[in-house]
């Protein structure tokens, strides 16, 4: 029997939802890590650990894990700079590496760490922090952040990262060296001759089935790449606008992608207060508006960059949360949506999983 789960990170704690495979009825945990800003939570299927990065107004960032679905939490090592100058303010993403015990962390301010011992100790990947383009990195509204890490499950040495506003970098040697991968991205905040230096990446996914297929929500448009980011193709035609934060993919179909366009970097909310998800099934040639079950007036919240997640079920499940504390879910690939939770704190991240417990 399989089980589905949801990790809903909020500005005031974490909720864990669990359901049978039909995903029609959810049982929710008590609020975990209450009082902490939970930036990101994910399940590492290799170890069964739920990793939770959180930070506190006064007491700084922390990284915890749970092996009992949130019943108890163990403090892991927390990434820390050792140069006597910088200090980790928040951990925006934790991502399993391609081999046992390897974890990556995306950090604010603008850095990436790796752990070889399943989170006990962390080392800064200075090869990225000292990239020649580092001098062009510029903090976005949320700060200078490496917030997306895409790891190749079949090739642990292939890692692709993105941030705000750092641009995208690819490594094929496990992070020893990095190549900027921003060609084709058009950024209003950069001079013409510097377009490939530090675009403002909002979200980034590498498709697990098709080598080289990347999807990106950028500050200035939606993009697809078919060659690991060597060239980016803008796919915004047919969408109501270019701005937005989250992206989701269908793990079984590289041509399927989901965006939630927002009205400009000034308003940062869905167009006209009408909440809608947009889906392509042909690699960005055409877009479908998916709004059945979603509020179509007076929705003035933001959907943050990590706040849209997908599972791996068939049909695909999609879940997203808003800065207004509403959680929506779809179990038909986005065709229809229902409100799963409301009155939560601003939702920072949503991640879903499916586990097969039949063994």
């Amino acid at each position: 029997m399989s089980e589905a789960g949801l990790l809903v990170s909020t500005r005031k704690g974490l909720l864990i939802g669990r359901s049978s495979a039909d995903r029609t009825s959810w049982e929710w945990s008590e609020l975990q890590r209450a009082g902490w800003i939970v930036d990101y939570t994910m399940l590492d299927a290799r170890s069964g650990k739920i990793w939770c990065s959180a930070s506190h107004w006064q007491w700084g960032p922390r990284l915890h894990y749970s092996t009992d679905w949130g019943e108890s939490w163990v403090e892991a090592g927390t990434p820390a700079f050792d140069d006597g100058e910088r200090s980790v303010e928040a951990i925006w993403m934790i991502e399993p590496g391609g081999r046992d015990g390897l974890l990556y962390a995306g950090i604010m301010p603008g850095a990436m760490f790796r752990s070889e011992d399943d989170g006990e100790s962390w080392q800064e990947m200075t090869s990225l922090s000292q990239h020649p383009y580092r001098k062009y990195w510029e903090p976005g509204a949320a700060g200078l952040v490496i917030h997306h890490i895409a790891v190749d499950a079949d090739n642990p040495d292939r890692v692709i990262v993105g941030g705000s506003a750092t641009g995208i970098y690819a490594s094929y040697d496990g992070g020893q060296t990095w190549e900027a991968r921003n060609s084709g991205i058009v950024s209003d905040h950069l001079p013409p001759d510097m377009q490939d230096t530090a675009p403002c990446v909002h979200s980034l996914f590498a498709h697990p089935m098709q080598q080289g297929r990347l999807w990106q929500q950028n500050h200035f448009g939606q993009y697809r790449s078919d060659d690991d980011g060597r060239n980016w193709i803008k796919v915004s035609d047919g969408l109501p606008g270019e701005f937005g934060f989250p992206t989701a993919i269908d793990p079984t179909d590289p041509d399927v992608c989901y965006f939630i366009p927002h009205d400009s970097d000034q308003a940062r909310m869905p167009y006209g207060g009408e909440l809608a998800v947009f889906r392509t099934r042909d690699a960005g040639e055409h877009w479908e508006r998916l709004d059945q079950g979603l509020p179509q007036s007076d929705f003035f919240h933001t959907v943050y960059r990590h706040a849209l997640g997908q599972d791996s079920c068939d049909p695909l499940g999609l879940y997203f949360g808003s800065s207004g504390g509403e959680l929506y879910g779809s179990i038909d690939g986005g065709d229809s949506w229902s409100l799963l939770r409301e009155h939560l704190a601003p939702i920072t991240a949503v991640r879903a999983w499916q586990l097969d417990n039949s063994d």
Binding site: Q58, A80, G143
Partner: protein, 103 residues
Amino acid sequence: MSVEIRMARGLRVHVDVPERVNVDGGTAREALDDLIAIHPPLRRFVLDDAHRLREHVNIYINDELIVDRQELSDAVKAGDKLYILPAVSGGAGTEPERSKVNS
């Protein structure tokens, strides 16, 4: 010389330390270092990676807020009480910049 450090309830709910600890030191830094040697988990709560006092943590020596937040060189003497207190900066409108948006 012996200095008594008192830790706020808002700190003790997160880390297992007593309310009062007697330490040695001639400056706030030395007293804090001695405290952290006794209770190592406190370090990351009070200090950042560069060993600076966290932005929203205050240290008082008796009834005076320390002046040197960078080096913590403020002098302490035997019998002083040193308070580690969270600033009241977690409310709306005074949030740290990074926390205004998670977008």
